[in-house]
Amino acid sequence: MAVLGVSLAVSTAARAVERPGVGKWKAVEVVLPVNDADEACLGRPIALALDADHLYIVDAQDCAVKIFSKDGEFHRAVGRKGRGPGELSFPSGVSVIGGRLYVADKFNARVQAFDRAGEPCGGFSTPFAPDKVLALTGETLLVTSSPTGRTAAEKMLHLYDFGGRLLWEGLEARTSSDPVFDAFVNMILVCPGEGGDFFVVFRSGERSILHFTASGALAGKILVDERHAFQPLDMPFRGPKKRLLGFCWAAAWDRGFFYISAPAPVEGKDLGPGRLLSVVDREGRLTASIELPCPVHRFVVEGRRIYAVDDDGGLRIFEVVR
């Protein structure tokens, strides 16, 4: 059965690489400057964000947000481990707006704000462990959470003003009798759109992307081209064989296009991060694919540049050649 699973996964991957009628773009790696500082090392980078001048990488291990230039030169780190102001415990998301840095401080159950100098300048507590944070406009902040499975109808999206007042909650978690399966089908990624709109991408089980307005209203559902193939994965242990359909390892949005990386078969029957990015337009059509030199875990895109984190937690910058 495992052999069947692997061969199915491999054939699906092969189909995804071929993709008839889809442009193939190249990614050329940009040579990064040598960053000697210990702080520049990334222990467990789990989220990235960009503003006009900088790249921000959340390092959950060092409990800090590490700030780089857009050419990869390390500038400084913001935050340290702890529970007090300016301290973080398992930061998991970051967003930048108006010169302020908003960090999802997961184990402290709060969102913390930092100013340009890296000093704490406010924030608010949340009744859940915040996962990702996204400044939508100058007035609202989207905070995501992973469902705990302990209460019914848990919401995964929460819209706050910068003072911490809850404005809206939505996107109910899907539940079944299998908490492990539920954890996977409820794994979401959020991408900032234009004018405060945002997109929700499910990492597994669904090929669709939800489009929300800045106020939280559902504006549409984008069905992604089936040439961006699912990667099946048989679940271990649980009762009758259950198959999880992996859709996306990471995703980004830039200038009218989604960049979606499909999970790829690794280590036999497992699924890990892939090195193939699908470029999908806002109607869900696959317009191009980009083959990266290495698998990437998280990435953000700006114009022709892809800022990514590789298997070893290292920063990589790629220039896309069309």
Partner: protein, 72 residues
């Protein structure tokens, strides 16, 4: 009759108190188990590891919750 009522009420108060304290402690213990379970899940889901491995870890988290709640 009054004496009997007083005795019954006193008995009820005593039994309630005797039952409440162990229950309260058990509830506290179970809450700790759930908190640990939540931390275990959060860590697993943020590992960014291949999914089969994450599934195994989540399953271990669930087993640990059961063991903790049953004080095994």
């Amino acid at each position: 009759m009054k004496k009997l009522a007083v005795l019954v009420l006193a008995g009820l108060v005593f039994v309630s108190a005797a039952l409440f304290f162990p229950t309260s402690l058990a509830a506290h213990h179970v809450n700790e188990c759930y908190k640990d379970h939540l931390d275990c899940r959060v860590n697993a889901l943020n590992l960014d590891a291949p999914w089969y491995k994450v599934m195994l870890i989540l399953t271990v988290c669930d087993i640990a919750l059961g063991k903790c709640a049953l004080s095994l």
